[in-house]
Symmetry: C2
Subunit: 254 residues, 2 copies
């Protein structure tokens, strides 16, 4: 295969087994890399869907353990939902943005605004279990990055993702909810465009674009929770997905 | 270079010259492919930033020709903007969604909701010119696809992109505004997840994810307006970016 200058590769990492609480995700990824014949290298961005991170961290809840509040019961009854699952969403929320037409859009403790505060039942084993977002996805990304860098000696970045809906556009896309080792924004403000004029509104959410790119090889039913982006020239930084949260004072859609 | 199973490649297509009204974009792309040594093949997705499409179609406006309305003058004065540029935005709008804090978010005639109705001054030559969105980006994509398929004999898809901001998340990302030859949504509803349970809310905006992936090799200052996505298995369809517009009755953020 001929490689083209500037080309970026999106490599699916298959062979990650079902993850259980306490499992070592770093070890799973290293083993899958070995099986795939993929050696992690400096500059690689390892992109991981949060679901395996949440499972490894035990962020899975059995609905039988949840006592729903009156609010949860009412919303569930009106919309044909499980009141315990609605309660799980409310407990993950710090602010409800919309609660309408059966949709519950909430802000999580991390600042993300998304449907069901990130609580999700798909691809979780067991009829009555739901998956929550990691407590601190940046920390999860950092831990995984340290592990992978330690095991390979390579300076890599890690992004943890979830799929969010968007106002005005149909369909969900993958976005970054945890970041380590990469500047999540590329800020072109103040730089000249190709005609020498200063660009005023060009801050690109590259971590979200990397997350979106990774989803293309992950699929929803494939059980491929990890992808490696290779060849993308990013700015090294500690990084945090909090930079991707619109500051409240700039948010026109609270 | 070893290729991995399921790998997707994002290949930047460099060497597109500055595009002027009436230019043949298909010819420019074919020439850049030849220079790059890239032969378009069946299944490739050619992703093009709208700016070169708009320029080729003459969708560039000289501000000197615009007589601003009172509304445009007032908003411009309050926010330190050029009233003629504000007027250009209002003329591209069918509905103003927000007009606040110097930001004008509007719905375009295509149904897209975005800042300044897609009117943009960066990377446009000339101090007093702005670039508008194509009149019918799906039709532009279709024409380009027909041209490229005719020239190469390959069954390809075309996506035309712009960079949009998002509520709640900081930074812009590339999205699809014109689509031809690909189903822009991957609909997993009703399919079983890996545990055999039906997935209820999984419609993925793959055309937007492809657009986002392409941006990673385009950059803002690089003058690389075209990328080729190779290896992504998509569902063939006539396709339309209108499928990516949230239907009004489902839109909770009008």
């Amino acid at each position: 295969m001929t490689s083209f200058p500037g080309e970026v590769r999106i490599i699916p990492l298959r062979g990650i087994p079902e993850v259980r609480p306490g499992d070592d995700l770093c070890e799973f990824i290293m083993r899958a890399c070995a099986q795939t014949g993929l050696e992690l290298a400096a500059g690689d961005v390892v992109i991981v869907t949060h679901k395996v991170v949440s499972k490894a961290e035990g962020r899975v809840v059995t609905l039988g353990e949840i006592e729903p509040s009156d609010l949860a019961v009412r919303f569930a009854q009106e919309n044909g939902k499980d009141p315990r699952q609605v309660e799980a969403v409310l407990r993950e929320s710090v602010r409800v943005v919309r609660m309408d037409r059966g949709v519950l859009i909430a802000q999580t403790r991390h600042g993300f605004v998304c449907a069901n505060a990130g609580v999700d039942a798909s691809n979780v084993p067991g009829e009555d279990t739901v998956c929550l977002l990691p407590i601190d996805p940046d920390a999860s990304a950092h831990t995984l990055r340290k592990g992978l860098s330690g095991a390979t000696g390579a300076d890599i970045a890690v992004i943890i993702t979830d799929s969010f809906g968007r106002p005005w556009r149909y369909g969900i896309t993958n976005v970054a909810i945890g970041v380590s080792g990469i500047e999540p924004l590329a800020d072109y403000r103040g730089q000249p465009d190709q005609w020498g004029r200063e660009m005023t509104a060009s801050v690109i959410a590259v971590a979200d674009e990397l997350a979106a790119a990774a989803e293309l090889v992950m699929g929803k039913t494939d059980a491929c929770p990890v992808a490696v982006l290779r060849g993308y020239e990013y700015r090294r930084a500690a990084g945090s997905a909090r930079e991707l949260v619109m500051p409240a004072e700039k948010d026109m859609f609270r």
